[in-house]
Amino acid sequence: MAEPSASLSDSETVDRRAFLKRFAVAAGGAMIESLPGRSRARAGAAEEAFQLRALEPDPKRGGTLRYGVASSPAHFDIHQSGTVANIGAQGPMYDNLIRRDPRDGQTIIPDLAYRWDIAADGKGYTFHLRSGVKFHDGADFTAEDVKATFSRIIWPPTGIVIPRRPLFSAVSEIRVLGPHKIEFRLKEPRPRGFMFSAFASGWNVIVRKKTLEENDYNLRQTPNYPGTGPFRHVSRKKDEVWLMERNPHYWNTPLPYLDRLAVYNFAPFSPELGAALLGGKLDYARIVDTATLRRAQEQPGMTGATYYQSVVDAVWVNTRHKPFGDPRVRRAMHLALDRHALIDVVKEAAPYLLGGFVYPFSEWATPRNEMIQRLGYQQDPKPAVEEARRLMAAAGYAAGLRNVDFVVREGTSWKLWAVAIQAMLKEALDIETKLRTVQISAFFEETQGGNFDLSIGAIVSTLIDPSDYFNAWYGEDGPQNYSKWHDPAFQRLVAQIDRELDERRRRALVRQGETILEQDPPFLPVAWEQLSDAWYTYVKGQQPRHIFGIYDVARWDVAWLDK
């Protein structure tokens, strides 16, 4: 594991190439040196002394950071959640076993585990835990807490739903080897980068065994359960503000630098969030609209940044409805979308990236310069449309389709896109769609129930690693496989990708999978999300430029105020 890099400056920007380079370094950091008998991560050698510091040389202590983010969770159980409303507000109160470095958003660094060993057969991950760490209620942190936490994540009791559970499907046993030593046994080896990314996911915060037992392993309605994190709960006004104060006993001295954290609840992209920031009521705003970002970047004393998010926006095609079971029809529709135009349509609402079926900014994806040569991704859509018409004719639908039910998830981008896609399908393939806009709570009912022909919305993954989302999005039983798509060759390939330990061969398998997805699309990719934050320049220590998604770096422990 690599030691944290200390070479990033506040003004530095990151492009796709830089991100890939850094992510590759991070992934490489997650790779383990091969030693005889047992192998050990490089950062593991840093021993218990490893402690995080701010990137800047002379951080100041004190002050209250006023942070605006969606922070009115529907419940309080971080493990059971999938929304920023939980991790955005509660993240600062908890620690992980290992984590992504908040200074670059990518390198995996020690957290409550200061060292780890991996068995030579790749089936045992042993973590050495810090001693002397205390929960906010004064209780000691031990390996039993880690076991209780991960046991619930991996084998949740009835009625408990934990979205990150599949990441640990290979874990067969968790063994406590001592008060501060724990081992995860795997049924079969998994790529180490994947396993480390899973452990470091921001969602997998460590909670106390006693807390879980006292609440029957369900924390949905348990506010303020103790963590070991840099901030501790002070008060919460529902839907308004969550106040936290510095944990004076935090193990990672001198963190945190802030005395208090006030987390205000604002909907993402909302004008209220932008107004609160520009009106000086907030110091830092997460997920601002494009207009606010632009204004912040123009205004002296303010700045902003755009970063990658773990979400794809797509149109699902119900393969159980005729004629959408025919791959030619789906590929034709895939080719009929002018993606450059679609990204342009919503650019005032939110920034998006061109991409196919693999995170376009990841090392796994086809490079952009190759991608834009490919049908369906070219600047000039004419060749793709010609091919699309040929495919429709070959499938017997040269005259197009009528009365196609197109479900649209309520939301600015999706509504704009639905109209544009409706026009593109009509013009290119004479497919006539009927738009049906529904609220989010009805959207999933409709899509999961298969009550649609086409359906536009977005899905999220936890990891950038294809083993996570290839199963969830494209797997036969994948929870987000709304199209009910199934390709036996692809399923076999995914099983191989999950088990392949050689990174180069694994990457080649992913490319093979991408080829299958292009020819037999499980959905029609529209664009890949990016998000923007804006803040006053006196807020230091936060580096949103380099992060993948907003869920892994949400603790504010290295943030400080230069005023």
């Binding site: 999938g82 309605q221 999933f444």
Partner: protein, 318 residues
């Protein structure tokens, strides 16, 4: 008077029962699943049918509809109004925390509507078809036409970009910090008040014009009473009855309008809570707030009826 009051309240009960049944049924018939908000999109998609059924049962949504309705009525009778599906917050606590701010906005908006509407209406009636009358009539039509939430957004943007001002972000009660509280309430109250003021102005003008032509007004003028006193003492009290009635009806618009206007100003009142609850499909919160709005609307109309007796001695409530 007391008998009349009791009778009105008893007659109002079937209305409230009707409202409760309508909102109860509507919230259960409309498509949408509260578990989406509860687990987020990713978690919801991983719920198996067994888990889903169990959680719906825990929430009390698996019982037959009449049983659910009886449970709700029991919650109301106990004064707790039940608990939110999410986080388990009591609805009564939500109402107690946010209700005062929304009530302030409503009352302040009525006050503003009268402060603006009455002088404008009187001016128009005293000098009909004059320049001043035409100007104020045009302005009142403008405020009738402008949607409150849009005007609210304009005010928020104007104060932000011209004065770098944004109202406070959290609820501060009047007794905690009157100035901060005033900053929260004044924006939505002004927008709602101006909208109502336009109605008040038009109603005042037309009623006053009618009354000014009456014999007793001519008699007062013939006796040499000053014109100002003729209008204020003799004509206006008689012209006000319909205006008060309109004000009572407008209260309903204030309650409805406050939902959008609170959102536009980002004021965390009951209106904002209602919008959040609708988006989250938090049935318990929605049905209780809608019923609460129904109760308020009914009480306001009873008060309006009672005020008639104070303004017109000929009216007795027996």
């Amino acid at each position: 008077m007391l008998k009349y009051l009791l009778r009105r309240l008893i007659f109002g009960l079937p209305t409230l029962v009707g409202i409760s049944i309508v909102i109860f049924v509507v919230m259960r018939v409309l498509p949408g699943d509260p578990l989406v908000a509860m687990f987020g999109a990713e978690g919801f998609q991983r719920l198996n049918p067994g888990d889903r059924a169990r959680i719906m049962s825990d929430l009390g949504l698996s019982d037959p509809l009449p049983v659910q309705y009886v449970h709700w009525m029991k919650d109301i009778a106990s004064g707790s109004f039940g608990r939110s599906f999410f986080r388990g917050d009591r609805v009564s606590e939500l109402v107690l925390h946010r209700g005062p701010l929304s009530a302030e906005i409503g009352l302040l908006s009525v006050l503003i509507s009268w402060l603006v509407g009455l002088p404008v209406g009187i001016t128009g009636a005293v000098r009909p078809n004059s320049l001043a009358d035409n100007v104020v009539r045009s302005v009142s039509v403008l405020f009738l036409a402008i949607p409150g939430f849009w005007l609210g957004m304009l005010i928020v943007l104007a104060s932000l970009f011209w004065f770098h001002y944004k109202a406070p972000l959290v609820v501060v009660q009047l007794w905690e910090d009157p100035w901060t509280n005033f900053q929260l309430a004044i924006g939505p109250a002004t927008v709602l008040g101006l909208g109502q003021g336009a109605y008040i102005a038009r109603m005042t003008r037309s009623c006053l014009l009618e009354v000014i032509g009456e014999d007793y007004v001519r008699t007062a003028r013939a006796k040499g009473v000053a014109e100002r006193l003729v209008v204020v003492r003799h004509a206006l009290p008689n012209a006000l009855l319909p205006v008060i009635t309109v004000s009572g009806i407008l209260m309903g618009f204030v309650l409805g309008g406050s939902v959008a206007v609170e959102q536009a100003f980002g004021v965390p009142g009951l209106g904002t809570a209602l919008v959040t609850a609708i988006v989250e499909r938090d049935i318990v919160v929605v049905q209780n707030l809608v019923l609460l709005y129904g109760v308020i609307f009914m009480l306001v109309n009873v008060l309006v009826d009672l005020s008639y007796a104070l303004l017109d001695p000929r009216i007795h409530h027996e």
